[in-house]
Symmetry: C2
Subunit: 342 residues, 2 copies
DNA sequence: CTGAAAGCGCTTACAG
DNA sequence: CTGAAAGCGCTTACAG
């Protein structure tokens, strides 16, 4: 097992100083073209790579971002919301394009997440992601802010929240999907998903939903709003209970696609048909939404743009610039579960 | 913006040397209990955290693992297979429990992945994951091996492959699910999924499938095997073509759940019913498999155990110990899409 | 354009 | 049990 080459080895072989090697490898214009080429050739041959620990230590930065996913704890770690996994994909890509590595962690696996990344110089900044219980981690956000950690979070757009939030326009999404259902003639509605400040995103969707109903002169039925976290199980349980109590709304607006998938199963098991007996809509447009039966009408959040915006704003913070909360547009995706004609 | 505290600051405040601070913080038994407590209290108060770059540089290790996901490139980065995302979850957890951080990257975003992690001391070892085209990266594996990089890969169990592979018993899974369908009376079969060495896992499942048929005295119909990569789209397209050609097998064994979901949609659109007209089975048991309509019969790969095994074996390699390829058991999960009685 | 030297913040062998 | 010192492998101000 040969020892790893260092910049001194290269310097020795090239007959120059180690400083020159370092400069050449970083494409410093100070180095003679010829010298630079020679050094690079030797580096390639030796399979030399700059030691990141040394380089980062010297430069006092890590060129790494940390992504922390906090989700409602579930029994099974496989139940990570596909929406956030899409985000993970786009964030990974956006970081890579900016020349940053991405460290990933799940909140439920590490209680000390709020202090562990930037303070140890493992990451230059932190991205927070999740549909978790907002109240549970509000204190931690405040602490992050006190410590002057660089972070951005995906979530509800709200000036009161600590730190900088990026998110889609949840109110508008809830409004649009409800408005569409109204246009199809539906008149009585259930809303499946937590509608309080513990889940600010769901709450905003709910408010949009209610607003659309009121604009149409319909009074929201409070007993048809049922809490659910973003899992199939939770949606299934909530709708199952609703149906067993004898409720038969025309349509169910679900706060996420996973909830909607669980809802459709409960409706099917009750011997009812989607959308003929009850229309169902979701939220997020996860990949499987196109392939449910019937295909799910939903509100698309553009994860590619979202990931880019998160990384871009975080890097702005890291570089000492100003970053602002940002509200991104949503897009209604009409498929069959809402009862729209083919 | 206060400068970050260093071990010298702590030493100064505690009235001891910096060496002693370092020892105390690492719980060295050499340090007096009282001194240690005092130092730790000060560290907590200053919100001091050991600088990882410095510590790693000195110790010549990173306490970080890298996870590389290589997937068949798709137009949309949201289409990461949920199965691998479950793996990501369990690998993250297993690394955290072992005291390692996890760096995540997607192959399609970085062509140089094969050399970039361990050589730069950013990671002590690498985990490779994906249903990608095996031939595409075989050379890279060989290169990794030459460079004496520590790595393990999830995939087909095969002595010929470079490096150490961990994987589930794909042959047995293909066998079991086919055997189950035979027991339900199905006699003519399609197999949807690549059946050649570019996709060794799918190929092994196919071989198990064929073996079960032969044991039952049934000759596999080669024209009913259709290639597909692990996406809903690909499964949909393959089955669509099959049905348009007029084929009506009793059952379709799909090489992954995503393929099966696409297959069921194609079957539905052709005016046929699952499982009455055509039974369908998947592979992986992704979370949504329980919530398709009908619920999907599939072969479960235990991602929790898999993630733990990957991390455990990789760390063994990192520590200079022996690690062995490993074949893990699978479990048949019977739901409704196979036509089993309730 | 190039080199000698300092220093990033730790860990640990060495000496006491 | 504690301290002074070397050194991990780089980057970069300084001098030429």
């Amino acid at each position: 097992m040969k020892a790893k080459a260092t910049s001194f080895d290269i310097a020795h072989m090239a007959g120059v100083s180690q400083s020159t090697v370092s400069r050449a490898l970083r494409d410093s214009p100070l180095v003679n073209q010829e010298t630079r080429d020679k050094i690079k050739a030797i580096a390639r041959e030796l399979n030399y790579k700059v030691d990141k620990n040394a380089s980062n230590l010297r430069q006092q930065q890590s060129r790494t971002l940390a992504l922390l996913l906090f989700e409602d704890p579930t029994t099974d770690d496989s139940l990570i919301n596909p929406f956030f996994l899409s985000m993970l994909g786009s964030i990974t890509r956006a970081s890579a394009q900016a020349g940053y590595d991405l460290l990933v962690s799940f909140q439920n696996f590490s209680d000390d997440w709020h202090a562990d990344y930037e303070d140890t110089n493992k990451a230059d900044g932190i991205i927070l992601l999740g549909y978790g219980d907002y109240m549970d981690y509000r204190d931690k956000l405040t602490k992050l802010e006190e410590q002057e950690t660089h972070f951005v979070r995906w979530g509800a757009f709200d000036k009161e929240h600590p730190g900088i939030s990026l998110g889609c326009d949840n109110f508008q999404g809830g409004y649009d999907v409800t408005d569409h259902l109204l246009g199809l003639g539906h008149r009585s509605f259930a809303f499946i998903g937590g509608a309080d400040s513990r889940a600010p995103e769901f709450f905003a969707r709910y408010k949009g939903h209610v607003s659309a109903l009121q604009n149409a002169g319909i009074t929201p039925q409070k007993d048809l709003q049922r809490d659910a976290i973003s899992t199939e199980e939770s949606g299934y349980a909530a709708v199952n209970a609703l149906l067993r109590e004898g409720h038969r709304p025309d349509a169910m607006v679900c706060a996420s696609d996973l909830i909607a998938i669980g809802a459709m199963q409960a409706i099917n098991e009750a011997g009812l048909t989607v959308p003929d007996d009850i229309a169902v809509t979701g939220y997020d447009d996860i990949p499987v939404a196109r392939f449910t039966h019937p295909a799910l009408t939903t509100v698309k959040q553009n994860t590619t743009l979202a990931g880019e915006a998160l990384v871009e704003n975080l890097l702005r913070l890291v570089n000492g610039d100003q970053a602002d909360a940002q509200l991104m547009p949503v897009e209604l995706v009409i498929r069959r579960s809402c009862g729209a004609p083919e």
